[in-house]
Point group: C2
């Protein structure tokens, strides 16, 4: 009887967990879109809940505070982004470094980067947000660096290689910032071509 009840309870719980996961995901996606479009000042749990079509109570059940919601949202999309980047080159990049540099730079344009940028800038002025965003940023940065090293086939035991890859990711971040106010795609494409060449020579 105990065993049957346990099975029943599990069967009942599964779809509920799925629903709960779907609600959470809708909230996270709405939070990123909201942050990218309206910035931190215009992004509250209530606004996000409405956008996601979720009640305020349900939203607060998942994310008790605004800080919880927005750091989780940026983390969620950063993870999606890493998965997307890896899936671009399922067998590795086969030495096409131009393609890898372009894909890395693409990580820093578009709505996720905009959302992350709003979060960083807000965190620089909000004591409650800063430690969480700083920790998140460090984690995402390490992850991106590891993927970049792998895809570029960079040998970090050689002096300077680690800093070469870091500088490339800093450049990608700067290109993302340059794209914030105007469509900078044509110039970005030329810079990517040239720096992929320099990188190729540097990495050997």
């Amino acid at each position: 009887m105990g065993a049957v009840n346990a099975v029943d309870a599990r069967a009942d719980r599964l779809p509920k967990q799925d629903r709960s996961r779907a609600t959470r995901q809708r909230l996270l996606e709405a939070a990123v879109a909201c942050l990218a479009e309206h910035g931190w000042a215009g992004s509250t749990v209530l606004v996000v809940a409405e956008r996601a079509g979720v009640s305020r109570g349900a939203a607060q059940h998942h994310f008790p505070t605004r800080e919880d919601l927005f750091t989780a949202a940026v983390e969620y999309v950063a993870e999606e982004r890493s998965v997307a980047l890896r899936s671009l080159f399922p067998q590795g990049a086969a030495g096409d470094r131009r393609a890898v540099v372009a894909a890395l730079v693409d990580l820093y344009t578009g709505p996720l980067f905009r959302a992350a940028l709003h979060l960083w800038v807000a965190a620089s002025n909000e004591d409650q947000l800063r430690p969480r965003v700083t920790e998140l940023e460090a984690r995402v940065g390490r992850d991106t660096h590891r993927i970049a090293v792998e895809l570029l086939g960079a040998d970090e035991s050689r002096p300077g290689v680690r800093e070469t890859v870091q500088g490339l990711l800093d450049m990608a971040r700067g290109l993302g910032l340059a794209n914030l106010l105007t469509d900078d795609a044509a110039r970005r494409d030329r810079v990517v071509t040239q720096w992929a060449k320099l990188l190729d020579e540097a990495l050997g």
Copy 2:
């Protein structure tokens, strides 16, 4: 009598103009500090006037709108920044590209970059601000590029050189962004050393 009056009027006017210029400058400096510390949402003409020790009326005489005040402020400090950069190498950089790269990167850390970053991010969400900040950013970007080319002794008639310098400035911007939440000076220094070396090889 007309001539004497004109001289008197000029003598009266000069100190007044000086006072007016000093007030304007105090307002601009206070605006940048305010934007860097509190972001766009916390930066109003009134807050800046109080910080500068200037009456609200006098502040509004100089800058009728918030947008006027803050775009003028970032423009003012960008000009100061260009002057400072040129004065670092009054006889040119004499081939010390590591020093030039470090000085260029320094432009993107510190309070001015923070202020500019807040302005860019605010402009991305505020229709009134966007065209002015976009125009300002393009102008400052061209100016910085010209100074960088000069100090690096880069020959832009050679293919790829223009994009090499652009990518360097994008990297500098990205390094500035990486410094927003944490003190990134030690890592930045290593990246600068490595990329100055790559740049030196690329520019010949």
